[in-house]
């Protein structure tokens, strides 16, 4: 199951990256991680640095993917963002991309929420 989640996750991140590129963002880094956590995708929207959390779910049975993004998770991304910027005060924000997949991992819905923190 754990392994399966990982496959679904990376597939979802793929969908998210494509969607972001399509919107005209430039990918800066994917899967920025250290021992404090991970940022799924870092992109640039013009001058603004955007830290993107991708949350995917297969089916709605246990709730929507949006519900699975907790305050704690967002705090973690904020902390990771600060680490990434190495103390520099850049214009930045946190976005969430919620993805709903069907059992065959095909995209059913992709919602992009800006500046959620």
């Amino acid at each position: 199951m754990k392994k399966f989640n990982r496959i679904v996750g990376s597939k979802a991140e793929e969908y998210a990256s494509r969607a972001l590129i399509k919107k005209g963002y430039t990918i800066v880094k994917r899967n920025f991680s250290n021992r404090f956590g991970e940022i799924d995708i870092i992109v640039k929207d013009g001058e603004t640095l955007v830290f993107v959390e991708v949350k995917a779910k297969t089916g709605n049975r246990f709730g929507t993917p949006e519900e699975m993004v907790s305050k704690r998770k967002l705090n973690q991304i904020r902390k990771m963002g600060e680490i990434y910027m190495e103390g520099k005060n850049l214009p930045c924000r946190i976005d969430v991309i919620a993805i709903l997949l069907d059992p065959a991992s095909d995209l059913l819905r992709l919602s992009h929420y800006q500046n959620v923190y």
Binding site: T64, E66, V69, V96, Y113, V116
Partner: protein
Amino acid sequence: MLAKIASIANIGLETVPVTVEVDVAESGFPGFTIVGLASKAVEEARERVKTAIINSGLEFPSKKITVNLAPADLPKDGAAYDLPIAVGVLLASGQLSMDSKINLARVYFYGELSLDGMLRPTRGILLLALFAQKKRLSEIVVPFPSANEASMVTGIKKLAVKTLPQLVRHITGQKIISPLKRTSAKKLKEDLQADFDLKEVAGQELAKRALVIAAAGGHNLLMWGPPGTGKTMLARALPGILPPLTSHEALEVTRVYSVAGLISPGESLIQKRPFRSPHHGVSAAGLIGGGSNPLPGEVSLAHLGVLFLDEMPEFQRGVLESLRQPMEDGAIEIVRAKGHVRYPASFTLIAAVNPCPCGYLGHPKKECKCSERLIAKYHHRISGPIIDRIDLSVTVASVETEKLSLTDKKQSGQITSKEAKYLVLKTRQIQTKRFAAISIYTNSQMRNSEVKKYCYLTGEAENLLKIASDKFNLSARSYFRMIKVARTIADLENSRKILPLHMAEALQYKQNI
């Protein structure tokens, strides 16, 4: 879209309007936030409202929802905001379109939701109804199980709702809920709801007479005597001779019980006169009321009824002393960091006291085993100011064996609860008539100016009181209290004037222990 729903907050017995503003934003990360000094119970409304809406077969919007409880600086507590929040969410998300006949500004929503969409009994409904009554053409929407509380209130439309879907059908106009009709109070059954009948207590004629006077005029009574002589039995017989509450009194008492959440589902007005007997382990907060959002304590729950303190010296001293203010003012002011509230607390204190720790001080046959110091310490527990506020004190002495005889049929002189109740009722009627113009009910509630107005002492009676007052060093408070007791005794005999006979009897009950 934004929806504004009217509701209320109860601070003690005061009711303040609260507007529940619900905004369902078109953009933004989905979430559900409640602002406006919400307590934990209100915060948790999030989960209840969300689940109740989903389980009612409706849709909970996956959007950014913000709820504001205005005014923002007033602390809100309790689960009663579940219903207004749920209605607000449904309206703001466009799932409900308002029937044009409903003017939302005049409808007050109030009630706790269950996870399955049912409405649960909620406290404070009576206060909501009384508040809405002051506004013109208003309407209240409340949970069905508690709706009876409001049934006596006229001039408003009362909707008792069982489930959320039922309310939705009403609002959209598919199936209108017919408003509750005004129901008159059910006649209380005449049977005596006491543990004992007065006639079951052997002997103790003096104590029984004092009990009747206390019940008739609402005077404080202290019973003093060795264990096993019937002090507790006498007090337990008291509910059987107390008159039922008048409609005015019933409303006052029900308001307190509504705030305390002590009205059982389906019940409307409380008509039985309260009889509270807290255990001597009670804390000051439990007795006079308390908590960070202060709830009424035993003294307020005994409002217009009886507070019975069995084994009075066993209560903590501080707890007993806290009775002073309510005994004098008939109300209690509780002050906490969040603010202060005032609850009515006009009760009749009935206390039972042993003469010493072992109980046999002054007993004709048994020897007291307590040391002088122990006895002094025991008596010290009930302070002078408290004793001064007690109008009647009687000795409940040990009973001679002949009177206990089961075969002896010579009980003709014994007063029964039924007879006593009749006497009490008649005396209360005289008082109700006398105080019709002012907001008190019994002789004991008279203030000094009213004592001067309503108590005609004959010269001889006044003389008697003056002599006694000098001899026993009665305080000014006791002086007036004596007149009030004499007033009740005169009322028991249906005498307009207070005769020396009445005064003499009143003085007889002022024994110092």
